[in-house]
């Protein structure tokens, strides 16, 4: 397309009021917000949903699978 929005706008943070409404689309359980990695973590589904340019991407096929180590680490948080 003629213009690329990513260049036209500064990168953005997700709106916390939107984040607090979100749940895992698969399990409908609460998510853990990893601000540093810009991910929303579903412990129940063992998935980390990315937040790209401030837009939460709540699609399982776009999410990163979490391994046992990461899940254990989350358990200590």
């Amino acid at each position: 397309m003629a213009d690329t929005p990513a260049q036209a706008e500064p990168s953005r943070r997700a709106d916390p009021r939107v984040l607090e409404m979100l749940v895992c689309p698969l399990t409908k359980t609460a998510l853990i917000y990893d601000e540093a990695r810009q991910e929303l973590i579903s412990r129940a589904a063992r998935l980390a949903y990315p937040i790209r340019d401030g837009i939460p991407v709540m699609l399982p096929e776009e999410a990163r699978a979490l391994d046992d180590d990461e899940l254990r680490h989350l358990g200590k948080k």
């Binding site: 397309m1 709106d15 939107v18 749940v23 837009i55």
Partner: protein, 266 residues
């Protein structure tokens, strides 16, 4: 099957939808706001927002609207629209219509306009809308419909079934991500089976000039020629439904949109 096709189709043609007169200014958009009568404290969700036109139409009337879609390029267009219109209460999220990533009972209004014909599982979509709505919440739906006895009277049910199949084949040829347009009666049944009270339904004819409609999603010339044949040589029930005609040497036809307003009982 259709989800990645939808992302491919709309990813590539997001800008065409941002500027499409039908999607931006369609009569159903103003009519929808009028019928819904949004309130200033409402939390709203627009599903399969595309370039964000429906979310943007409601944003000035509600506390907040989340514009959701599964296509990144569409969400980028929706965000551009929100910025251009100075709509600070319009947010974007990438969310699947059949697996909504929202807590139950969070929204006063869920809208979905000219999109469910892409969804593989309409009852599941309706169930998810039900889940995220508060008791008393409003589900406002607009979609193109296929011919049935309600929209196209005077034909046998076999002829109407054929016409509905032919109409959906016509749409799928133009846009492979098209899944299926339902008939108006079928929509009413799904909405009420989900548990909603259907408070209003109406049909709105949408006159389309064939050529720009056929070209918007980048169909090949050979495909456009086949579409034209299907439109002008269709069976009588399909002709009665699509009403192909020449106006000032241009081929026009009419699509039927249904508006359904449903309420989740308190």
């Amino acid at each position: 099957m259709a989800k990645s096709l939808v992302q491919q189709q709309f990813g590539a043609h997001a800008a065409a939808y941002a500027t499409s007169a039908v999607h931006a200014k369609g009569a159903s958009l103003g009519r929808l706001v009028e019928l819904v009568r949004p309130e200033p404290h409402w939390q709203a969700l627009d599903i399969a927002t595309g370039a964000g036109h429906t979310a943007a139409a409601f944003a000035p009337h509600v506390a907040r609207v989340i514009a959701s879609d599964i296509t990144d390029e569409m969400l980028a267009q929706a965000r551009k629209l929100a910025m251009a219109k100075g709509l600070a209460n319009m947010e974007t999220a990438s969310v699947d219509a059949e697996a909504l990533a929202f807590e139950s009972g969070r929204f006063d209004l869920v809208t979905c306009r000219i999109a469910p014909h892409h969804f593989p599982d309409i009852p599941m979509f309706a169930g998810e809308v039900w889940r995220v709505l508060k008791p008393g919440g409003t589900f406002a739906l607009v979609d193109n419909i296929a011919p049935d006895a309600e929209s196209t009277p005077g034909f046998s049910s076999a002829d109407l079934r054929e016409a509905a199949l032919a109409y959906n084949a016509f749409e799928t040829m133009r846009d492979p991500s098209h899944n299926r347009c339902l008939g108006l009666a079928e929509w009413s049944e799904i909405v009420t089976d989900t548990g909603f009270d259907l408070v209003h339904k109406e049909r709105l004819g949408k006159d389309m000039e064939f050529q720009p409609w056929a070209e918007r999603l980048g169909a090949e010339p050979a495909t456009i020629a086949r579409l034209k044949d299907m439109l002008v040589d269709g069976e009588p029930a399909l002709q009665a439904f699509l009403r192909p005609r020449l106006e000032q040497e241009k081929l026009w036809f009419t699509l039927d949109e249904a508006i359904l307003i449903a309420r989740k009982p308190r």
